[in-house]
């Protein structure tokens, strides 16, 4: 092959290489303009809902982009707000009207582009709705948003009012607690003495009374007591009574009968739960600071119901220990059948 022929071939090959290169680079450039990772997180998918917030995100391809980028939302309407945008490098100005989000890019480079701060009305029909990217910035692409007939779940439940109550005589060696489950019973005071006050007491094995309430009553509950006789009365000789009276304290050799709510820290309590319940509050006249097996400050028991302790709000396994006490002077007539009946009632205020 001659030299001139070689030159011609070389020129032809050069042209071909250039042409191929141009073609290839042109192709790459066109593909590079497609955005990826496109999404729009809306606050609602339900059809026809107005004021739905949008949060757009996409990834720009390699290159530097300047100019308009429009996102046209098929089937959406009433775009409003003051959208703000950001890109990896460069600036984004944004506006939203009708169903078009218009962005003006200035020097945006590859990376994440986000737009928030605009709202719109969702399509009137359920389905898939295309968002198309176009504009002079040369960024293309499309993605879709769902519109659905209903996008929400309504959850309902009911809670019934509730109150449970236990009251009963309990062995003097067993303190009252939230687990108390007794009902009824007898507190046998035994033989009364002028030398000492007779009381519920572990050392004398005289029972005390346990009360326990659980309720979800919003305004809490009250435990009341009423005395059949307002006294210890002889069954065989009803005229002979040991009358109940408030005493602070009841002293040996003094005739008296009454009840008090234990003042020791462990005499009242409730379960620690979520939500938090409330502790029982002792009520007058049974709320003296000194009410133990050895401290005899008692309240009068009457026929009319009196509050023993209260709850100001719901409480679970709220309990209180009650002491029964009596004393006599030397003039109290002897009988073996002095007795009284105490009736307790728990009432919730819902």
């Amino acid at each position: 092959m001659r030299t001139d022929q070689k030159n011609i071939l070389a020129k032809i090959l050069t042209i071909i290489v250039i042409a191929v290169s141009v073609f290839q680079s042109g192709s790459l450039s066109a593909l590079a303009a497609a955005a990826t990772g496109m999404s729009d997180t809306m606050s609602r998918n339900k059809i026809s809902v107005p004021g739905v917030t949008h949060s757009v995100s996409m990834t720009l391809p390699s290159g530097t982009f300047t100019g308009a980028l429009t996102l046209t939302y098929a089937n959406f309407s009433a775009f409003a707000g003051s959208p703000t945008g950001a890109c990896a490098t460069g600036t984004v100005a944004a506006s939203a009207t009708s169903n078009v989000l218009t962005l003006t890019l200035t020097g945006c480079t590859a990376g994440t582009l986000t737009v928030t701060g605009f709202t719109g009305t969702n399509p009137v029909a359920a389905g898939s709705n295309t968002v198309t990217l176009a504009g002079a910035a040369g960024i293309t692409g499309s993605f879709a948003l769902a519109s659905v007939t209903d996008d929400q779940i309504g959850i309902t439940a009911s809670v019934e009012p509730s109150i449970t109550f236990n009251v009963g005589a309990e062995s003097s060696t067993t303190p009252c607690a939230g687990t108390f489950a007794g009902n009824g019973g007898t507190v046998a005071l035994g033989t009364l003495s002028t030398a000492a006050v007779t009381s519920s007491d572990a050392t004398t094995s005289i029972y005390h009374i346990c009360t326990r309430v659980t309720t979800n009553a919003v305004s809490g509950a009250a435990v009341t007591v009423s005395s059949l006789n307002a006294a210890l009365k002889s069954t065989g000789t009803p005229a002979d009574v040991i009358t109940s009276a408030t005493a602070s304290p009841l002293l040996p050799g003094v005739t008296g009968y009454g009840m008090c709510v234990g003042s020791a820290g462990t005499d009242i309590g409730f379960d620690s739960t979520v939500p938090i319940g409330v502790t029982p509050v002792r009520a007058s006249p049974f709320d003296h600071a000194d009410c133990t097996s050895a401290l005899h400050n008692i309240g009068i028991l009457t026929v009319a119901p009196q509050s023993v302790w209260t709850l100001s709000a719901p409480s679970q396994n709220a309990f209180a220990r009650l002491y029964i006490k009596a004393g006599i002077s030397g003039t109290v007539r002897p009988h073996t059948d002095y007795a009284d009946t105490l009736t307790f009632v728990a009432t919730g205020t819902f």
Binding site: L28, L31, T41, T130, F143, D150, I155, S158, N216, P275
Partner: protein, 230 residues
Amino acid sequence: MKSAHKKLVIKILVGLMLLSAPRVVLGDTMSSSSFVITGDDLTAGGGNINSASFIAESEVGGKAPGEDLASASFKACAGYPCALNSSAPSISFAVSPSTVNFGTLSLNAVSSGSAVETVTTNASNGYYVIMYANGEMQQANGQYLPHVSSHGTVTAGVAGYGYSVSGTDADPSVINDNPIPANGSNLGVAINAGPVIGSSVTVTFKAAINYLITPGNYSQTVHLVAVGLF
């Protein structure tokens, strides 16, 4: 130039063009914003085009035979030109039922009820579904059921309210039972990194009470949002 030389030059040019032209196409990723061909063949024999949600036959000899390129949620023709123009972005979403009624809550059992959300999308990067609430599970007077602890368990006799998710696409960050705060924060429901057809996740709401829960009627509304990642 002699005639023989001219013929030689022409043959070389034709040969180069034949070699270079296909490279222009093969050298590029055969994709659009919503479609990727992972196996293609520009000459003869064809190849399969696969993704998580569809399988399609590729072209033979650069033509588009266009057979069997359809499923319940996807249609396509064969060949790169077809691919460029097919697979319009799409996402569908459904939630059912729209109400869950626990009835009367019991001290002795956990009450529960479920709803199912279903997504179909050809989004190449998948999708996610979130849930949020703008109020507590509460009464009109504001009394509300306490939240179960995060990743906890709603237990009979212990006051607590929350949700769990189950299903292939269930959000793995939602472990056991989780609270539904009233502040509108996004809660995970479902997630998948690729296209799906009819992917369902069950959202189960659970409630339990103790003796202290205020009696009355409780209600809450939660919203579910599906987002395609194209």
